[in-house]
């Protein structure tokens, strides 16, 4: 099993002090090299779930186990390192660093993993997503679709075993949407990476063998 979630709870504290429960997942699993698409209503907690899996947001209780490692029990620094080395994440809003070129953004992804930043490999990844001619462009000099592809290249930089993708095909036209989807799925198939991808597009979702609706396994309203 690549990813396994048990009794995961997450709630936010509102400014008024009231608890706002978002996640209550009893069990959720993804097998090795499996590709899963996650759908659900806006504000349902999809991004929150991805952030908890990545260790960016900490859970209130329960466990997230990735490749046999219970990441929820790791100290923060350990979770950071695990995220850098094992998890790829295409953020909903790309999160490219404006001060860095496309190439440097990919290199930055490598820098924090403790491995040597490999310029050649970074350039290769950008070529694969069709940005071979855009290596030295800053994000502001790239179209939205191009930025999204840089984000995809960066997420693959450290050869992760689990790839999280938060609506990577939003904001782009259908041609680009198909291209990005192919890139992500192709890379995952090629390297046996497990994929959890969020989308709002029925069309995109329909191409996956396994479609999960968050509301089917998440019952935040059920009290602990």
């Amino acid at each position: 099993m690549s990813l396994s979630i048990r009794n995961l709870r997450k709630s936010y504290i509102e400014p008024t002090g009231r608890r706002l429960p978002i996640l209550n997942v009893e069990s959720f699993e993804i097998a090795s090299a499996e590709q899963v698409v996650l759908v659900g209503s806006s504000g349902g907690g999809k991004t929150t779930l991805l952030n908890v899996i990545a260790g960016i947001t900490s859970a209130d209780s329960g466990s997230v186990t990735i490749d046999g490692v219970d990441v929820t029990s790791l100290p923060e620094a350990g979770r950071d390192r695990f995220r850098a080395q094992r998890i790829g994440y295409v953020f909903q809003t790309f999160h490219l660093l404006p001060a860095f070129t496309a190439l440097e953004n990919v290199l930055l992804g490598m820098s924090f993993s403790g491995r040597k930043a490999d310029r050649h490999r970074a350039a290769e990844l950008l070529k694969r997503v069709g940005l071979g001619q855009r290596l030295d462009h800053r994000p502001t000099a790239l179209s939205v679709g191009e930025q999204q592809r840089v984000a995809v290249a960066r997420s693959l930089a450290n050869s992760p075993s689990l790839l999280l993708a938060d609506e990577p095909t939003a904001n782009v036209d259908t041609a680009n949407q198909d291209h990005i989807l192919e890139l992500i799925r192709g890379a995952c198939t090629e390297h046996g990476v497990s994929l959890l991808m969020v989308t709002h597009s029925r069309d995109v979702a329909s191409r996956f063998d396994r479609i999960e609706n968050l509301s089917d396994f998440n019952r935040p309203e059920v009290a602990a």
């Binding site: 850098a84 080395q85 999160h95 924090f112």
Partner: protein
């Protein structure tokens, strides 16, 4: 990418403000370096550790002016002393081992180097404890024999391009345009001493006296001798007046243009002793302790003054130059500190905009400590690049200013001079970088990833 490379690239976003803050550090460091180096040059120049003599005897006045003029050859000497004082009071004093007369006041026409009229005995003295004058392997004491012989310092030779056999003219002291007719000839070039002797031209005392204008008018000389309390018999007075009249006659002949057939520096008229004067007498007592007694003895009277050749300058440097240095260093350090505050403000202000940047790095797997180090690295880069620039500019400033200081102050300046204390700037800049970067660094450390990402 290394953390410093990340810090550097992230700084490009704010290149103008980064450049300006680094420049402000550079400015402060430049001034500090300049103060340190110039002060070092001044101290080196004026902190001669010793001389071959342990007393200078001059006419009464400022001891510092006497030392400056006699040892460092800066400024004109005071009122001269009659030759009789040298011969009868000083030479005959039983405490004295050697006493060397010295006249000053003229300068070379080329380059304006100070002229010292003295005897060959001068070169028998050590110029600093344990160091003897050398003239390309020869003994300088055997060189200054002819009346118009000259021995020149190393720097004089280099700057004026003079060599053995070169001839030169003197400008009469205090009068810019009066060039003496007599020409002196270089018979020896001193090896470098690292003292004011390097920029001095030593001429034979007799030749110096023989030049027109270096003899005291007879009536004045007589008055001065009597002021000093010497007895002048009517017979002596007659002889003196007669000799003076003869000299004046010679002078007129020369002035009338009767130069034909003369060898240029050939005419040497010996001067009666009572028309001679010396600027300083360099004295070495037989035992060091005697210097104290001799000083007391001489300073008791009003005719002359005995001065330690080292102490007035050391006192001046410690009290005056030292305090000025402290004040200047304090002020320039303040500029550096203000620049450090500038770095802090610049980085701290940028932190609000960079919460997202930091959160993204964290989301990519950077640890809290890592992002903190990146911010510290930025502060470090600003301080060190500013420091390096300031260091270069500071030495550049000294390099450019060196000729001006030399011509204005008569101090020899090594434009490549490096002060050991400059090394202390490095830890100072490091500490400043850490102080300026630590608060923004902590802000980076505390950045909450999830909430900052969604901003």
């Amino acid at each position: 990418m290394t953390l410093l490379a990340i810090a550097w690239k992230s700084m490009r976003q704010r290149s103008l403000s980064s450049l300006l803050t680094a420049l402000s550090v550079a400015l402060g460091v430049m001034l500090m370096v300049a103060v340190l180096v110039i002060n070092g040059i001044v101290s080196d120049t004026f902190r001669q550790k010793g001389t071959g003599f342990n007393l200078i005897i001059s006419s009464p006045g400022s001891d510092l002016a006497t030392v400056l003029s006699c040892v460092y050859r800066i400024g004109l000497p005071g009122e001269p002393l009659p030759w009789r004082f040298y011969e009868e009071d000083i030479l005959k004093n039983p405490a004295i081992e050697s006493a060397i007369p010295m006249t000053m006041g003229d300068a070379t026409q080329a380059g304006g180097f100070p002229i010292v009229g003295t005897t060959a005995e001068f070169f028998g003295m050590e110029y600093e404890p344990g160091k003897h004058f050398r003239v390309k392997g020869q003994d300088p004491r055997k060189l200054l024999t002819g009346p118009f012989d000259a021995i020149i310092g190393d720097r004089v030779a280099r700057e004026n391009g003079w060599d053995l056999g070169s001839e030169f003219s003197l400008i009469h002291g205090g009068m810019d345009d009066h060039v003496h007719d007599e020409k002196f000839k270089v018979v020896g070039i001193l090896a470098m001493t690292g003292t004011a002797n390097d920029k001095t031209v030593f001429v034979n005392l007799d030749g110096f006296f023989s030049m027109s204008g270096h003899d005291k008018p007879a009536t004045e000389a007589l008055k001065r001798l009597r002021d000093f309390g010497y007895e002048v018999t009517p017979q002596q007075e007659q002889t003196l007046l007669k000799a003076a009249a003869e000299l004046a006659h010679h002078g007129e002949e020369e002035a009338a243009g009767d130069h034909a057939g003369h060898e240029h520096h050939g005419h040497f008229h010996s001067l009666p002793n009572d028309l001679k004067e010396v600027s300083f007498i360099l004295v070495r007592t037989k035992r060091p302790a005697q210097a104290i007694m001799l000083t007391a003895e001489i300073n008791e009277g009003v005719r002359a003054m005995a001065v330690n050749p080292i102490r007035p300058m050391a006192r001046f440097l410690d009290n005056f130059v030292g305090s000025i240095r402290t004040v200047l260093l304090f002020l320039t350090a303040l500029i550096v500190v203000v620049a450090g505050v500038g770095i802090f403000v610049s980085i701290y202000n940028s932190m609000a905009d960079r919460r997202r940047e930091i959160a993204i790095m964290r989301a990519l797997g950077a640890q809290r400590v890592t992002v903190m180090l990146i911010i510290l690295g930025e502060s470090l880069l600003l301080c060190l690049s500013g420091g390096l620039l300031g260091f270069t500019l500071g030495h550049g400033l000294v390099f450019v200013a060196a000729p001006f200081i030399e011509s204005r102050a008569g101090i020899l300046v090594n434009p490549f001079k490096f002060e050991l204390l400059e090394i202390a700037l490095l830890p100072m800049l490091l500490v400043m970088a850490i102080l300026a970067g630590v608060l923004p660094g902590l802000a980076a450390y505390r950045t909450d990833v999830a909430s900052s990402l969604s901003d």
